[in-house]
Symmetry: C2
Subunit: 310 residues, 2 copies
């Protein structure tokens, strides 16, 4: 006898311009899909299969983040007589800046918790998610939280962990372009200096405040022109071939603002219509192309719903 569940966990954009390490949002797509089965056993997470992105690169055993996440839920709930089998279909490439590991982790956590009677609340799942995220990169919540909760999510503080759900923004369209190029989060973190110029911090604070006010007031126009970054982007931009051209192309095609998605190399931009967002994503892909890079592009609204069963 077994019980079965299918889960969809969306891509997320972290940092969102000036919101380094504290702000993220969920996309409607792309996403990872997971199938989890509860079977008789001894309290083990069993990784069964991997399809899609990461095949041949990501671990297909207990070291896969999905298995680590499921095992943490099993251990936390002291389950001794059941196993959970995991099939992962990755729609998100790794090291893309689109919250690929968070999607796998959150999908696994959500699914395992549901199969085991929903005994963990959102805060507990979030904390476990951050711990899992820290296994292969630094502990940060700005992908895990929006993947779990949907919409824009603000990390008010890390110690103690406090999250504020800011919700979606109607009429805001996101263009994402992911070049054929892997950028490790670790490397993207190493280039950021410990001290940053205050004058740039002040510019970023203005932008962040405008962004948050725009989200709170459901003002897509204000949000669209507030996702720039003068503090971290200048250090990370040189790691992404053609970034300057891509940003210029996005703005020239009508985007209100454009910045690096998470730690990169994916780049995102905000627009005010689906049509414009399509044009922006084409312009971004074109600019990567001129720099010798193929890319995948996505156009999406802000997902009001985070991870969910399908």
């Amino acid at each position: 006898m077994s019980e079965n569940i299918k889960i969809r966990a969306p891509a997320t954009v972290a940092n969102v311009g000036a919101g380094f390490d504290i702000l993220g949002f969920a996309l409607e797509g792309p996403y990872d899909e997971l199938e989890l089965s509860l079977v008789n056993g001894r309290g083990k997470a069993k990784f069964v299969s991997l399809e899609g992105y990461g095949k041949g690169k990501l671990p297909e055993d207990g070291k896969n983040l999905c298995a680590i996440a499921v095992q943490k839920v099993i251990d936390r709930l002291k389950i001794k007589d059941k196993d959970i089998e995991i099939k992962l279909k990755k729609g998100l490439p790794s090291s893309s800046g689109l919250g690929s590991s968070s999607a796998s982790i959150v999908g696994a956590l959500h699914g395992a918790n549901k199969l085991l009677g929903k005994k963990l609340n959102e805060t507990e799942l979030l904390q476990i998610g951050i711990d899992c995220e820290a296994v292969y990169s630094g502990a940060h919540a700005d992908n895990v939280a929006p993947c779990l909760l949907g919409g824009f999510v603000l990390v008010k503080s890390y110690e103690p962990l406090e999250i504020i759900k800011l919700g979606g923004v109607s009429g805001l369209h996101v263009s994402v372009c992911h070049p054929d190029f892997e950028l490790e989060t670790k490397k993207a973190r190493e280039v950021i200096p410990k001290d940053v110029p205050l004058k740039n911090v002040i510019k970023n604070q203005s932008l962040l405040a405008s962004l948050i006010y725009g989200i709170a007031k459901d003002d897509a126009a204000l949000v669209a022109r507030s996702a720039n970054d003068y503090v971290v982007e200048p250090y990370r931009a040189p790691l992404i071939p053609g970034f300057g051209d891509v940003k210029k192309a996005a703005l020239a095609a009508g985007a209100g603002s454009c910045s690096i998605s998470g730690a990169g190399p994916a780049v995102f931009a905000f627009s005010l219509s689906q049509k414009e967002a399509e044009a922006v994503s084409r312009a971004m892909a074109g600019a990567f192309g001129k720099n010798g890079l193929g890319s995948r592009r996505y156009v999406s609204g802000i997902a009001k719903q985070g991870v969910h069963a399908i």
Copy 2:
């Protein structure tokens, strides 16, 4: 024949925790009062008299910021056949961190513009106000803007100047304590380094985002616990004798957060009731007292209205 107007221009708190140089709000009190008279003449601002704070210290001639401000309005409107006489009653001490010079400037601008037929709009007045502010200290808008517009005001950008009126927050009470001690804005600026630690910037971003979201949602409780500052306060605190004790006392008395008002030395704290705000202000004054400083204390709501005729 003469025409006469009386103006009240409120104190303002700039920086507001993490909002260095970009966020400020207006208090209901204290305030400066000005009496302006339009008389026949040759297009000159004439400073007539000064009462209250600053007597014997502030210039009582054309070098007074009120006269400089009125003259700018007269010149801008190319008035050649009238003078404006200015009587200033200062309710705000200079170099206090409560926007004293901004109040005098904005009161003068508002009054002169009204006497001359309201030909300048808010943006024009704001730009002139920033120029006047720059005569004796650096150009910044986070006192001038809330004094002019009321409520909380965000400076979205300086070039070009873009201001967002965020409005008031109901149920939010402000305690302000101003010690008998002058701190020049210039000195308070000099202690801030050009580069600041990114880890503190991240903490401040979380706080600023929470503060702005709280203001946007009229959530006094969230605002009250979000006005802290890890970026600038650590450098300025040593300039204010007893600051650490005052902050501790404010928090112990029930304040949600406490920080330096503008460039100091005044300190402000947020509470959720009038009664609590009274207790907090007494505790702050007590702590300054233990450090050998007398002080004035104020309890006020956020003023929804900025400068106005009375």
